[in-house]
């Protein structure tokens, strides 16, 4: 190929093809070095002065570092203060490996028909010394790995780059200025990046170190993928003050997740450990039922990140107010008895015993079970034992005390009380009602009220039904009979 004809500079006869190749090949390294050596050399203004790249960068093709950049004295030949103003320029100083794994001699040996301009020329190739860094798109236009773009997911960074932890020459500022691949801006990136990171051709190490992951990952000290990255002080400094990000995974969003997560957690505790410390679990699992499992989750001392901070819940706040976690299905409060009593549902995994006694203790503090206006609607539920009042309340002490306060409890004298809703024959009718709903009766009537008729002290009307087993009851508590009977009716 006639480089001179192709470039159109009009100096074809004076610049050899070999020199042009060498000159253009060394240009990237020269330009790269400006970042560390001071102000970049302004090539374009010197276009009429230098006819060959190799004039200044002779050592690039051979890897001779000493001859890769011109001596400072060469500038002084013109910039002596009289012909041209003095300038301060120094060749770049390499303090270690950079991020780019690139060898001009190797490329020169492997690649044919390539000039310095092939990689370093800017948009207008007709302008001499209009050069700059080699942009990555030029690299992937030759390399046959099929990447669609420099920062595309299908690129293989290691083709050209070494791991960041090895690129010791980069400053904090350079690391901070790394371009962000478009994939990282996708809404699902955080949730989906794990699989990509574990892939054999993962690209993470090019830009990231352990500290990048340990900003969010609780298991940063355990996870093999993270451990493989290595530590980097620059990344550590850059991560200081950055808040962790914990988006909610799709399978966590279902209303039943809180109830059903145990199975998936036990199957893959490592997945939980990515975002959660043991404290997350113990927000709900205050009991000992999940203790063995929780040991597999890092505690705060082992964690490399704060982890998801679940709502700070106390036994009192766990299920109160509009923030309820929908752990149990609808109707659970009424139907949980057998599940809890049998032990099938391990209540103690999440609830302290106080959680039970908050309701079953008989006095409502949190509005967990009854709505605010339950008092106004409770009668049918009490009569039908829809909600078994006595499982939480002492009907004598709780119900009767309230009914007395509001004037509902029966007075001592049968004749002085208002009857049941304008039913004048109620006294005759009450037997069936009493046997069907005796618990409700006791919320207003004391024992002596009924004994006015149903005892030896009163009218001696027998309250016992046909199936009453007096002997059985007497055997359990002989004193009971003597409450109503002057003497034990079973005594011979």
């Amino acid at each position: 190929m006639d480089a001179g004809a192709r470039s159109g500079h009009g100096r074809q006869g004076s610049v050899s093809r070999f020199a042009r190749v060498l000159t253009l090949l060394v240009m990237p390294a020269a330009l790269w070095g400006q970042a560390r050596g001071g102000a970049a050399f302004p090539h374009a203004p010197h276009a009429r002065l230098f006819l060959m790249c190799s004039s200044c960068h002779a050592g690039i093709p051979t890897g001779d570092a000493a001859r890769s950049f011109p001596p400072v004295a060469l500038c002084g030949a013109c910039h002596d203060g009289t012909v041209e103003p003095r300038v301060q320029w120094a060749p770049p100083v390499r303090s270690g490996a950079g991020l780019l794994v690139f060898s001009h001699p190797v490329h020169l040996a492997k690649v044919k028909d390539v000039t310095c301009e092939s990689c370093h020329s800017l948009a207008d190739p007709n302008q001499w010394m209009n050069v700059s860094h080699a942009v990555p798109e030029r690299c992937i236009s030759c390399h046959a790995h099929g990447a669609s773009a420099h920062l595309a997911d299908d690129n293989v960074c290691a083709t050209c780059h070494r791991p960041l932890t090895s690129a010791v020459a980069l400053t904090d500022a350079r690391v901070a200025a790394f371009p962000k691949p478009p994939s990282h801006a996708r809404a699902d990136f955080v949730n989906a990046h794990g699989a990509a990171a574990r892939a054999p051709a993962a690209n993470c190490a090019t830009c990231h170190a352990r500290e990048s992951c340990q900003r969010c990952h609780v298991d940063g000290a355990r996870a093999p993928t993270i451990r493989a990255l290595g530590n980097d002080a620059r990344v550590a400094r850059l991560e200081v003050g950055r808040a962790p990000v914990y988006p909610t995974p799709a399978d966590h969003r279902g209303s039943e997740f809180a109830l059903l997560h145990a199975k998936s957690a036990r199957a893959d505790p490592a997945r939980c450990s990515v975002c959660h410390t043991r404290a997350s679990c113990e927000t709900c699992h205050t009991g000992d039922g999940a203790r063995d499992f929780l040991r597999s989750i890092p505690d705060a001392r082992q964690a490399t990140a704060p982890g998801v901070q679940l709502r700070w819940a106390t036994p009192a706040t766990l299920s109160t107010g509009p923030h309820n976690v929908s752990v149990h299905p609808p109707g659970f409060a009424r139907a949980h008895g057998a599940m809890a009593a049998s032990g099938e549902l391990q209540c103690a995994s999440c609830h302290a015993q106080r959680f039970c006694s908050d309701c079953h203790g008989g006095e409502r503090v949190t509005r967990r079970y009854h709505p605010n206006d339950f008092v106004s609607t409770h009668a049918p539920q009490a009569y039908s034992r829809e909600t078994d009042c006595s499982s939480c309340h002492s009907t004598e002490a709780f119900c009767r005390a309230c009914h007395r306060q509001v004037g509902l409890a029966a007075k001592a004298n049968i004749r002085s009380t208002v009857f049941h809703n304008a039913q004048p024959l109620w006294l005759l009718q009450h037997g069936r009602a009493a046997r069907q709903d005796l618990t409700s009766c006791t919320t207003c009537h004391q024992q002596t009220y009924c004994m006015q008729c149903h005892s030896d002290l009163g009218s001696r009307i027998n309250p016992h039904g046909p199936g009453f087993d007096a002997a059985r009851m007497s055997s359990k508590n002989p004193q009971l009979c003597l409450v109503c009977h002057f003497k034990n009716p079973l005594a011979r």
Partner: protein, 479 residues
């Protein structure tokens, strides 16, 4: 001396390894109502003859032939109460592996309100709900102090000891101590019980109980519980019952069985079999058969009055379409009482039906509506509710509700309608401090001359939940 010095040197590090958590709930309530009071009127001003008449408005009255006055009841002046409850929970752990202590105490008082009108237990100023030490190891656990035992027989508090031995899949538990009245959490001879019954128990009781549980896998479990409460002088029992509970979740179905047997009356207090779908299904159902008969302890005479039970069938359907913001529930039940042998014609059955619709918006808004009707022996009503909630953030939420209840029939209180509107709000002021408030306005209209307390009122409460200390396993600052 040397030992003391060594102990003093070691104490800071020992204490640093311990955990202490103190949490509290402060609740202030405000309620109003017009209680039912007795009144009388000159017999000559009441139309009609005989003992049973009605005064103005159709309110029933009794006009004894021996008196010149008719007696009736009406709503009195408006009264109010403002009870305050302070709950305090202290939990400590860490000295020895598995050793912890726990205490829950409650203080009550009344801030204001009408003199003489007292919220239930408002004069019981201090209560220890539980206070026990626990030593918990892998295979066993022991507790000593005031504690609760919960199971198929309900929840019982007692002062005593409890021990559990739990090898793999199996556990045996036993407990004994001074019994406390269920639902009251006070000894049998307490003033609280004596205040509401003129034949209160004369002696305390001692509880003895045991439970065996078998849990072959995570999806199946069964438990048998036996408990008796002995009168202190051992002259008899206050109660003797046993319960069998079993539950399984296999093949996508959930089956629960609960049985409670009363040895004193020789009958079943509860027998319940429920079959339904497992959790997490889009379409769920349950079918339940239940027999229920009330249970009375033997310090009362009520058990000798031969109470009868009822048999009930119940069904529920819950539908939560996966891709929908809506979910729906339907429920219904029908029950029939056993023969009372009283020869009196009263309703011997009952039924209920209801349904609700819930809507969960994009996360911030939620709405719900429900309708229920409950017709039965003793009382009947219909109830309509709707509400809208807004969860502004994890730390701030509101909810507003409207309700209407119609008391169709009731033995004692009568018929009427209540319309109400209420508001709930919660704000988390700090990670470990939360404020919850609710307020409601209710309008009660009694109909058909019913004599009942007027429930027209303002009602509200404020609750502050707070915590000091850290949960086990948490170090560093609170989130």
């Amino acid at each position: 001396m040397k030992r003391l010095v060594l102990l003093a040197m070691a104490l800071p590090s020992v204490l640093a390894g311990q955990g202490l958590r103190i949490s509290g709930v402060t609740t202030v309530q405000f309620i109003e109502l017009r209680p039912l009071i007795a009144d009388s009127i000159d017999e000559t001003l009441v139309p009609g003859t005989g003992e049973s008449r009605t005064v103005e408005g159709g309110v029933p009255a009794i006009c004894p032939v021996t008196s010149a006055f008719c007696q009736f009841e009406r709503s009195g002046n408006r009264v109010s109460a403002a009870p305050v409850l302070q709950d305090l929970t202290v939990a400590g752990w860490g000295w020895v592996q598995g050793l912890s202590f726990r205490g829950d105490v409650r203080a009550r008082t009344q801030l204001g309100g009408t003199a003489g009108f007292l919220y239930p237990r408002g004069d019981d100023h201090f209560e220890v709900l539980d206070a026990y030490a626990q030593l918990d190891r892998d295979a066993w656990r022991g507790r000593l102090g005031r504690q609760w035992v919960t199971g198929g027989l309900g929840a019982y508090a007692f002062d005593g000891a409890d021990a559990v031995w739990r090898p793999n899949g199996f556990s045996v538990e036993g407990w004994a101590g001074r019994a406390l009245v269920a639902g009251l959490n006070e000894p049998y001879t307490s003033a609280e019980l004596a205040a509401v019954d003129n034949i209160p128990p004369q002696q305390n009781g001692y509880v003895f109980g045991g439970r065996a549980r078998y849990r072959p896998d995570a999806l199946t479990a069964a438990a048998f519980t036996y408990q008796r409460v002995l009168v202190a002088d051992r002259s008899g029992l206050y109660s003797e019952r046993a319960a069998l509970d079993a539950s399984t979740r296999r093949f996508g179905a959930a089956v629960d069985l609960g049985l409670v047997y009363d040895f004193a009356t020789g009958g079943w207090n509860e027998a319940r079999l429920r079959v339904g779908t497992g959790e997490g299904r889009s379409l769920g159902y349950s079918l339940e058969a239940r027999h229920s008969r009330p249970f009375f302890e033997l310090w009362t005479i009520w058990g000798a009055f031969s109470p009868v039970g009822f048999d009930e069938v119940r069904a529920t359907v819950d539908w939560r379409p996966r891709a929908s913001h809506f979910s729906y529930s339907l429920r219904g039940a029908d029950r029939k009482y056993a023969e009372t042998n009283t020869g009196i014609d009263l309703r011997t059955n009952g039924w209920r039906a209801g349904g609700d619709v819930r809507w969960q918006g994009g996360g911030a808004l939620a709405a719900s509506g429900s309708y229920d009707v409950d017709i039965g022996s003793g009382a009947a009503n219909t109830d309509v509710r709707t509400g809208l909630g807004w969860m502004a953030s994890d730390n701030l939420s509101f909810r507003a509700d409207l309700m209407m209840t119609q008391n169709i029939y009731e033995f004692r209180i009568g018929t009427g309608r209540i319309y109400g509107a209420s508001f709930d709000g919660a704000v988390r002021v700090r990670p470990d401090v939360r404020l919850v408030v609710d307020a409601g306005l209710y309008q009660h209209t009694l109909t058909n001359g019913a004599a009942g307390p007027d429930w027209t009122q303002r009602r509200g409460s404020m609750r502050v939940e707070w915590m000091l200390g850290r949960d086990p396993g948490m170090v560093g600052k609170a989130p």
